[in-house]
Amino acid sequence: MATAPDRINDPTVATSRVALVGNPNTGKSTLFNALAGLNVRTGNYAGVTIEKKVGRCNLGSRVIDLVDLPGTYSMAPRSPDELVAVEVLTGDLENEPSVEVIVCVVNAAQLKRNLFLVSQLLELGKPTIVALNMVDSLQSHGITIDVEKLSSQLGVDVIPTSASKRQGVPELKAAIEKHLSRSDESTQREKTLPANFYEVCGELRQALLDGACTTGPAATAELSLPDDYLIQRMLLDRGGEAERRVIRRLGGGILPALISARKKLADQVGDPVDMECNARYAWANQKLSGVIGQTGHASSKVTDRLDAVLTHRIGGLIGFVLVMLAIFQSIYTFSSIPMDLIETATGFVAGIVESWMGPGMLRSLLVDGVIAGVGGVLIFLPQIALLFFFLAILEDCGYMARAAFLVDRVMTWFGLSGKSFLPMMSSFACAVPGVMATRVIENRRDRLATIMVAPLMSCSARLPVYLLLIGAFVPTTAMLGGWVSMPAIVLMAMYMVGVLTAIPVAWILKKTLLRGEVAPFVMELPEYKIPAPRVIFSRVWEASLAFVIRAGTLIFAASIVIWFAGYWPGDHTRQYELETRLESVAEGSPEADELQLALQTESAALLEGSLLGRVGHTIEPAVRPLGWDWKIGVGAIASFPAREVIIATLGTIYSLGGDADEEGLAGAMRASTHPDGSPVYTIPVALSIMVFFALCAQCVSTLLVIRRETNSWFWPALSFTYMTVLAYFGAMVTYQVGTRFF
């Protein structure tokens, strides 16, 4: 065992690829975690927008790469998620090693339904293992499954497992290993559909070949012809993915042959869609005869009882509001201690650097640039981890599907769908996973509309901006008899700005660019279950890691650039001289005050003359109507790549300008004045900045992920444009109206 981790992490070890596939809600992710442990790498399929999860695990003498595929009901994909599962299984992705063994996870309680997918998988002609998951819950219902009989009927290994209790994992590994060590075995492709169907397939194949021969050499035509599986799916799924793919490869000239083949099939066996489903269910019934010990369905009464409350006409809505409130409240309540710890640690590190190094360029870079920038952002790690923790629990226990069920009607009024709820909810943590979560939405228009409004949800990167400004400028007046305070109301208002803006935006999109009929909606409501700690933990871990990496790279780089632009050009000799002298005199002495003032004047002059100062003064006229001075303008512009940068930028600007004092950034902001002596920040200015940050598309990662998910530059360009325009005018209206009141 001691050498195992090294071998697992050794990139030179030859690995075999094993795919884990199954219907949604069969416990696939839990089984994946049980098999792979923490050796999980996430990445992207080459050229495909979907995230892939690969886990390495030891199998006796070999190491395998276990690929966790998105849940799918069939091999006729209807959402981007399902498409990837199908493409990986059929080996249709370039630069992706092909799958050697397929493990299909089925829910033992819904065996017949799940055998639909199994029957399609057996047609791929690859070694397949069926993991009969959740067998333990069957026993409590008094239902037994004759596993050996099922295995011999299906002609594949059937391994009973209980992923949540980690039962059956060694047996499953042994079965995978057995198949891998018999690499030369040829697996028969199952033929579950009527014989006429395969005849028509053969004819269509010949027709395509003949058609191709007239345009090109027969040899290359043979090579470029789609395989039997693709032809079968093309025939079955009208307007489906297989059809699109074959047309991409062979051109639209094949359509007449396809249409006539479909017509022939319809004449002989009836509608292809009906034919496929009937044949597969007949096959499943036949395979299950004598296998299940008791008829009837093992459906849980607990789920129905919970649903009676959680999807009730009134109780369901109250429960929904309570769940949402509890999440947001816990994020504030539980994150303060770890946040304070990180803040103290950041201050401690800055203190060490300051005591080790004398004033100079490098110390300025480290303290004013890197530590102020990256540290200021890292503080928010606990909140992000907590938000992901709650979202993972809600999703894993089965509540998210109920929430989608509850709000579907409301969402359709705005042109979205119940399935938009989860992505939008995730966007409160971060729009990047939020946009990726839209993959469960089958309808392209619904999916695009959701992607377009997801970045309006106030993500955790906006929170620092709100907290900083509210803390500095909003009076802590208690209202409604002390139940709520003014800061809490302003904070909630900022979250509402995004949500309320999303409504007309989605509505307009669905009336213009994304016009079309209301998309169909079919969604499984899984059984409620206790979330698997491993799955929750790995989700929180991944999100936190991604956040830390972002702070360590993007924010780090931005902090250095901002620091440099505020530092150069300019002669800092006198500034360092003043700093050195200041550090040698006693704090609070008259001489120290004098030096402090001189240092501040010198620093301010240097900042004004720097690149940042010059750019700031150039753009000042544009931000005047928002009530901003040049420093805020520069901060807003610098934070276009990532919102968190505003904190780093203002921190750097005020500390380079010599304004920072013991009270920190908030104090420096409160103290800053226009040349005429009037304060820069008033309540309308603070509100105007917050509204700007609530609406603006200041996040390169989000725009890039939109580009990846939509495979076009149009959608990210549109989000950037409409959000920036909204932010500018929103901030202007806030300021202009605000100055009439305060």
Binding site: A76, R113, E524
Partner: protein, 76 residues
Amino acid sequence: MTTLDQLLPGQRGEIVRIDGADGIASRLREMGFIPGEAVEYLRRAPLGDPVKCSVQGCRIAVRNGEARRVFVQPIG
């Protein structure tokens, strides 16, 4: 014969056929809506749409528009 959306909460019906041959019809079939199977209408969402039903031991939410395409013979 009637359609799924016309059943009363708690009422069961035997599926007769599903209208249409498009993607959503085959998705319903893949999820277990097969002629001969029993389907139970469980409840409506608070705002009247979608509806929750149970087929083959699995709970599925469909909008009224989709429920209208599922033809059933009420049982009992």
